[in-house]
């Protein structure tokens, strides 16, 4: 098992676990926002703007994992 194989496995694991957590939390955030909009349709603008900002924050975690995977695959410092 050389360094390339380990890097590929590491990238796969990073994307797998990096996708699960944000998916769950984004689902919860959207469900809560939907409920709030259904209760108070008049404040839909504020809720959806805050929701977008929050989703961006949550999604950053997934993107970090993606960046780690890309670094492992394309810019690995140990596999020169």
């Amino acid at each position: 098992m050389d360094i390339h194989m380990v890097s590929i496995i590491g990238a796969v694991i990073a994307v797998c676990f990096g996708a699960v957590g944000p998916a769950f939390s984004e689902g919860r955030a959207i469900a809560a926002a939907m409920e709030a909009i259904a209760r108070q349709p008049e404040s839909a603008g504020t809720i959806s703007r805050t929701l977008f900002v929050g989703l961006a924050m949550i999604e950053t975690m997934a993107i970090y994992c993606l960046v780690v995977a890309l670094l492992l695959l394309y810019a690995n410092p140990f596999a020169s």
Binding site: R49, E59, T60, V67, Y74, A75
Partner: protein, 223 residues
């Protein structure tokens, strides 16, 4: 598919300076934006033509949105935030035009935009609060939190850059993989999704920039 997303291909050289495709696309977008606004507002009149009306509607919407995010005294931020949004929309949607790639799918353009936001946060913070008060807000609520506040300043700029880059670049990857698996008609829904992703990312980048700058300047409606 084998292209390294962290590397840039160089289009031509201007003396010793290499010009990449992203930079060339950025220049074309800048020229287009300036030309459209110059032509539309060259002879601005009360009985507005179609282009002037469209530009006015756009600016009115931008102003009201920025006002909702940043509270009162938001008019001075509209030029920066509005330009950021218009540029990002054009840059993210430029991937739709055949033969061009979104400049935001390479890491330099988001890095430059995040640097602009980072610097303007401090500029507006110092301008509207003064040196002493602005620097003191890093030690709130406690002096022990100073390292954390400084760290969050850096990481949020970093995540602003990585978010835009990661979304645009990963979408390019998805398109490449789908086109590689089934080239005919199957990529079309993904292309449509790309338009949506580009618009949402432009919106998120702009809203976050507005929130950061507004928080530094001291007027917060959304923090």
């Amino acid at each position: 598919m084998h292209a390294n997303p962290l590397q840039t291909e160089i289009l031509f050289r201007l003396g010793p300076i290499p010009i990449s495709q992203a930079v060339a696309t950025t220049w074309v977008i800048m020229v287009l934006l300036v030309l459209v606004s110059w032509v539309g507002l060259r002879r601005a009149s009360i009985e507005a033509g179609p282009l002037q009306t469209a530009l006015e509607v756009l600016i009115e919407t931008l102003t009201s949105q920025v006002g909702e995010i940043m509270g009162q005294d938001s008019a001075r931020f509209v030029p920066l935030i509005g330009t950021l949004f218009l540029f990002l929309v054009c840059a993210n949607l430029s991937a739709v035009v055949p033969g061009t790639k979104a400049p935001t799918a390479h890491i330099e353009t988001p890095a430059a935009l995040a640097a602009i936001v980072f610097l303007s946060v401090h500029y507006y913070g110092v301008r509207s609060r003064g040196w002493r008060d602005y620097l003191r807000h890093y030690t709130r609520p406690n002096l022990l939190l100073l390292p954390l506040n400084v760290l969050s300043e850096i990481t949020r700029t970093f995540s602003l850059m990585i978010r835009l880059f990661g979304n645009m670049m990963s979408h390019e990857f998805v398109l490449a993989i789908v086109a590689f698996l089934a080239g005919l008609l199957v990529p079309i829904p993904f292309l449509a999704l790309g338009v949506l992703i580009g618009l949402i990312q432009a919106y998120i980048f702009t809203v976050l920039a507005a929130v950061y700058i507004g928080a530094a300047a001291g007027n917060t409606a959304l923090e």
